[in-house]
Symmetry: C2
Subunit: 299 residues, 2 copies
């Protein structure tokens, strides 16, 4: 697979996601509560890499599944991701005025509407993942996919990570604690994406295991790369000011490990991720290239 083929595949997956998201969350101009849908769509359709849906599709496909049956799951995980960004930006959390170069949800719609748009997106995610059944997935696989999403998004995963993030805001932490925090805050959802793709394809246990090892390494590499971009990235490409982590006195890999060791960790983890997919052979070329591209990204 060359770079052109890779980019074309990324684009196909992203377009499948966009088209379905627009369908799952339609405009509702005739309803008195139409502002809710505007707020949901404002954040949901703001672009972004769609990394999590891409992982759902790619693992579903790699394990021999039909990506159409995984489409609701891909959209569901993007809804959960989007809700988490909206709530994260709220004044009582990170108090960020900008997201992807535009006013954050509470700046655009007010705090209460932003809170409720996040709540609605989280709820919609579960309505949506359950629609895998109607998209052709077996009942048992649909139940498993929904359960994976719930566990990764909640108190065992993402929300726990956000609580840890708050607790650690003004105290020194170790690299191990930061790895645990990120495993929950961002890693759990990335692993859930891979796991849902596998489950919906009816993957074997060894396939699920390999996918999880890939996703675990990719998730951590992604987070370290995020920190590196905050230090050395281009604010225009990122759509947000750089240096914000240091300003907020946040613990980062760069602060804890140094610039060089952080870069090396990204390279090592990317390698690990690719090696985990060895059992799949050449069929895993897309996911291997994805790991490389994530490590080389500039935004």
């Amino acid at each position: 697979m060359d770079k052109v083929q890779f980019e074309a595949q990324m684009k196909r997956y992203a377009q499948m996601t966009e088209a379905a998201l627009v369908r799952f969350v339609p405009e509702q101009p005739e309803l008195p509560e139409h502002i809710l849908y505007e707020a949901m769509r404002y954040s949901l359709l703001a672009g972004g890499k769609r990394l999590r849906p891409v992982l759902v599709f790619a693992f579903c496909s790699l394990c021999g599944g039909n990506t159409e049956t995984a489409l609701p799951a891909a959209c569901a995980i993007e809804m959960v991701h989007t809700y988490s960004l909206i709530h994260d930006d709220l004044p009582c959390m990170d108090n960020d005025d900008l997201r992807r170069g535009r006013p954050s949800s509470h700046k655009q719609f007010g705090e209460a509407n932003a809170l409720l748009a996040g709540d609605a997106l989280l709820t919609k995610a579960f309505e949506t993942v359950l629609a895998c059944r109607e998209a052709g997935a077996q009942e048992s696989r649909t139940l498993q996919a929904a359960a994976i999403l719930a566990r990764a998004a909640g108190d065992h995963g993402m929300v726990a990570g956000q609580v840890l993030d708050l607790l650690n805001e003004n105290r020194a932490i170790t690299a191990e604690e930061l790895i645990d925090l990120d495993a929950k805050k961002t890693g759990a959802m990335i692993r859930a994406s891979a796991a849902m793709g596998c489950v919906l394809a009816g993957a074997a246990a060894e396939q699920k295991c390999a996918a999880d090892a890939y996703a675990k390494a990719l998730g951590l590499a992604f987070q370290i790369q995020d920190d590196l971009l905050d230090v050395a990235g281009d604010a225009a490409l990122l759509g947000k000011p750089t240096g914000s982590d240091a300003q907020n006195d946040k613990r980062t890999y760069v602060a804890l490990l140094g610039l060089e060791a952080s870069r090396r960790a990204v390279a090592d983890l990317t390698d690990q991720a690719k090696k985990a997919l060895a059992p799949f052979g050449g069929k895993a070329a897309f996911l291997c290239m994805l790991a490389d591209r994530m490590a080389a990204r500039e935004s």
Copy 2:
């Protein structure tokens, strides 16, 4: 069924709920994020009528189902209800310092932790309803119950009602608009409770229809009675100051219809609810008495 038998049944259902909630959301003192579990339990185990779980159990039982298989669904809907109260009390929403006579979640744990405890409870609700499968419910019925919960809690139901509530805060609305608002804000979840109980019991279409008519009437009666209690209730029994709706310039049934017509509406709706259950005959005695008790409640 006499009053003593009714109270004993209410107590049994409430105790089943309490015991299971404690299991579904255990204390986690050994985890660094233990405050998340404390905040979830603080609001979830604060008492309350457990009306929604009672409806799940009672309809499951009325339609010939095993209440054990509906226990996760009963807990799930109580989790959704609790999350909605936590988010509703936040400063950017109703800004309430008290809930059931105690400091509201954000007063006790801070705004960010309250927000996240709500998010975690909503997510946990879906993890929990999916556990109906392990509790013995069929896969297809579990999927249906989860889908009912998602639709009732989200943009078609409760969250839409909260958006409408905000939009109407400082404007005059008609009784019809208020009925639409409440049908979404509180009615949807009450109907979902009845519907989940039916679905998990494998109820026939006519049974579901009768249950929905009951729940719809009960939900509206409940809301009008709430308004009546805010005007004429006892602050000590309610655990919150009365007159707060009038102070916040909220539109209420009492303001729109007057005291007498509101009382009559509660009586008429209670009658409607009971009549809807006529096809079930004497087996519906518990739910008929529940409607009467709700109309006569003082808190």
